[in-house]
């Protein structure tokens, strides 16, 4: 593909778990070209400026296979929210709860989105080709992740609600002798 096409299709494929704007894509393409991993061929177009379509070279394909055989290291889940939880008593609870509710919505949305894609691409839940198997597995981990995090958000929201206004039971036991101190 060309850089422009990559930039446009990025969001609907890998974009779910990796961001890149067009600048970065062009930059990486340049690097790969310099290393001889890809090669650009100008494709003449009518009605538009010509585009530079890149294709993998032999060395590029070999490098890709080699990269694919390297062990991956499980990524850190760098999340502001988790840092806040580590020192929860230093923060205000209310904005955190609001944040969690936004997150809950986000993860539910994502879940629904993945589910829709799954039903569309794999109505019977089975992949036919190797490439499809990979995409199916990607969707599966996406679904699992979003569900787990969404459930946790619900739990966290409840927990924080209890923290925000603590021990209502005790207040109900005997309200006649104590005022809101």
């Amino acid at each position: 593909m060309s850089g422009y096409e990559l930039a446009k299709t990025f969001d609907s494929s890998i974009g779910f778990f990796w961001k890149a704007d067009h600048q970065q894509i062009y930059r990486e393409l340049s690097k790969l070209r310099d290393r001889g991993h890809i090669q650009g061929h100008e494709v003449v177009q009518s009605g538009k400026p010509n585009k530079l379509v890149y294709t993998l070279t032999q060395e590029g394909r070999a490098a890709l296979r080699h990269w694919g055989a390297r062990p991956s290291s499980p990524p850190m889940m760098k999340d502001d929210l988790l840092v806040r939880l580590c020192a929860l008593d230093s923060f205000d609870i209310e904005p955190l709860r609001a944040d969690l509710m936004a997150r809950l919505e986000h993860h539910r949305d994502r879940y629904a989105r993945y589910e829709r894609i799954l039903n569309k691409l794999f109505p019977d839940g089975k992949a036919t080709s190797v490439a499809d198997t990979g995409k199916l597995l990607g969707l599966r981990i996406g679904l699992r992740h979003e569900q787990a995090v969404a459930e946790w958000c619900e739990e966290a929201i409840e927990t924080l609600a209890a923290v925000a206004k603590p021990a209502p039971v005790l207040l109900l036991e005997d309200t006649s002798r104590e005022s809101n101190g």
Copy 2:
């Protein structure tokens, strides 16, 4: 705390989802000091060189609260593995399976570790203070995440095994007339 103490205690607290070596810690401490968010006080020690213990200033505490009230953006899960799944047909399956098995072990280990910490810190599963509530929630999302990913790893390993040697059923139906093509 001092930079040295922070570096030592980092791994057993936030270190589960955020890495930082001592250099980065010292660097960040310098930045924070330059911004007036923390202040260093030399503490004389006997038997060791003196240390520089940092404490939050008024502005630092305010900045922290302010930061804590900002909405967080859900982090990307940048994972090599997911990229490989996106183009599964360009890679060799075997090293991927090996990778997945290592990952499975890793996530199971993590799960067990979190479980141990949970049982130690919260034997009854309940937090008493606000700070503890945060730590408990941190453990909970850790457990949920590790379990989800570990289960997915099992699924993925099985799926890839089926891809590696496809359709064994057909071979079993009638082995008398066909050899291993």
